[in-house]
Symmetry: D2
Subunit: 140 residues, 4 copies
Amino acid sequence: MSGINKVILVGHLGKDPEVRYLEGGVSVASFPLATSESFNKDGRKIEQTEWHNIVMWRGLADVAAKYLQKGKLVYIEGKLRTRSFEDKAGVKKYTTEVIAENFTILGRKSDFENETRHSLKSEDADSDYDSRTDADDLPF
Amino acid sequence: MSGINKVILVGHLGKDPEVRYLEGGVSVASFPLATSESFNKDGRKIEQTEWHNIVMWRGLADVAAKYLQKGKLVYIEGKLRTRSFEDKAGVKKYTTEVIAENFTILGRKSDFENETRHSLKSEDADSDYDSRTDADDLPF
Amino acid sequence: MSGINKVILVGHLGKDPEVRYLEGGVSVASFPLATSESFNKDGRKIEQTEWHNIVMWRGLADVAAKYLQKGKLVYIEGKLRTRSFEDKAGVKKYTTEVIAENFTILGRKSDFENETRHSLKSEDADSDYDSRTDADDLPF
Amino acid sequence: MSGINKVILVGHLGKDPEVRYLEGGVSVASFPLATSESFNKDGRKIEQTEWHNIVMWRGLADVAAKYLQKGKLVYIEGKLRTRSFEDKAGVKKYTTEVIAENFTILGRKSDFENETRHSLKSEDADSDYDSRTDADDLPF
DNA sequence: TTTT
DNA sequence: TTTT
């Protein structure tokens, strides 16, 4: 018990969010996010990009679908979750995702028709212990 | 460019750190860390544990080897890195690890013969752009 | 717009939380929190303690009043807020506080009769845009 | 001991950094940073801005002086420090500052002639236990 | 004013 | 595989 599992990312979306709808109408958005880091090595500037699998649930997924697009710069706060799945060949594999808990769009003024911070408590779609939306945080 | 990739964890070590030495004498420590979370579902308390693969390089690995043991509660700050590798059967797989940048032991008094915060800039063993140790942060 | 204002602290309470009740029955808890840092200077170990003014609103204040006491080790997440006030002599002064958004008790087993993470959206008592409680996070 | 004191901010500089030089040639940069937050209250969008006093020491101050200007959007990581001072009238006052440990410029492409993350261990100017610069992180 |  |  008593753990903290927190991820803070600032990066650009590699693709538009992809939204799926589960039984019960629960929405799930996912997209890749790139965080790049520069450093000097032997006098040359090296840029290293790390890709993260971002997952958003329910109301946060809906907001993401509406306001996030490929290329946008966002601040994302969330937690790590590793889950297993079977690939097409039936081989068990693992993937680590960042389950987003809130996000803020950063960047150009033109990106800010909407400037509210988006926040949503979200969890696995098959649990309903926290399915409400932090409506006050939504921009409409 | 311009990215932030930060992980903050507080959890317990699932095992003692395992230390390996690469060519050049570079040390790498790794261990699993559990972060647990409790919540109420339908009136029952559910505990959910997430396991993280922690990796520490060089001086930080040495400090970890000396001061961290299975069961200890630690605060860890680091970044996410996903890398691919081939399993024994030659199948390409991916794993996501937390490359620790510093840690602080939390918890019981008996855990605190040493109480300095440990911090070390570290990177891939095959790169040497940042191989020094933040010696002032080391407890000896 | 588009800002992030986040504070992450792990430290010990210097006093029991002090709870006040505003008009409307809104509860506000506050207490000092010590975060200490050790480092070596000229071969001697120096310990430096920083004191933070923690403020919790509404449901989070109620949970704090019940579960936090002087000496306990807690993880606190919140945001900075600087406000002005007049001292007894009528002189305008400023104070910077950490408005907590959630906390987790860390530390000894004896501290863990209750082990849920406490979280509450909270704001100034004179605003009511976010006055609900994240009830699912509360331990009762 | 065993504390964590961490601040994460994303905001705009309210002024150009002001650089002072202490005895020994130690440089100190300081500037105000605004973090704004939007929320809906009674259907109206409210924007609330918080101002932070940012302080940078030594090499980090030098990088700030070179690359940060009024209006720029930056990610700043640091720690809180409250110190007392006497105002012109000899009255003792307190101020809380964010001692930056690293920063990253965010925002428009045009802001990124230089895109390295800046990082520097820094402390009070009158202590020399950590006076070196994380040179590898510097952009020259 | 905490803790080790 | 941790911890409470």
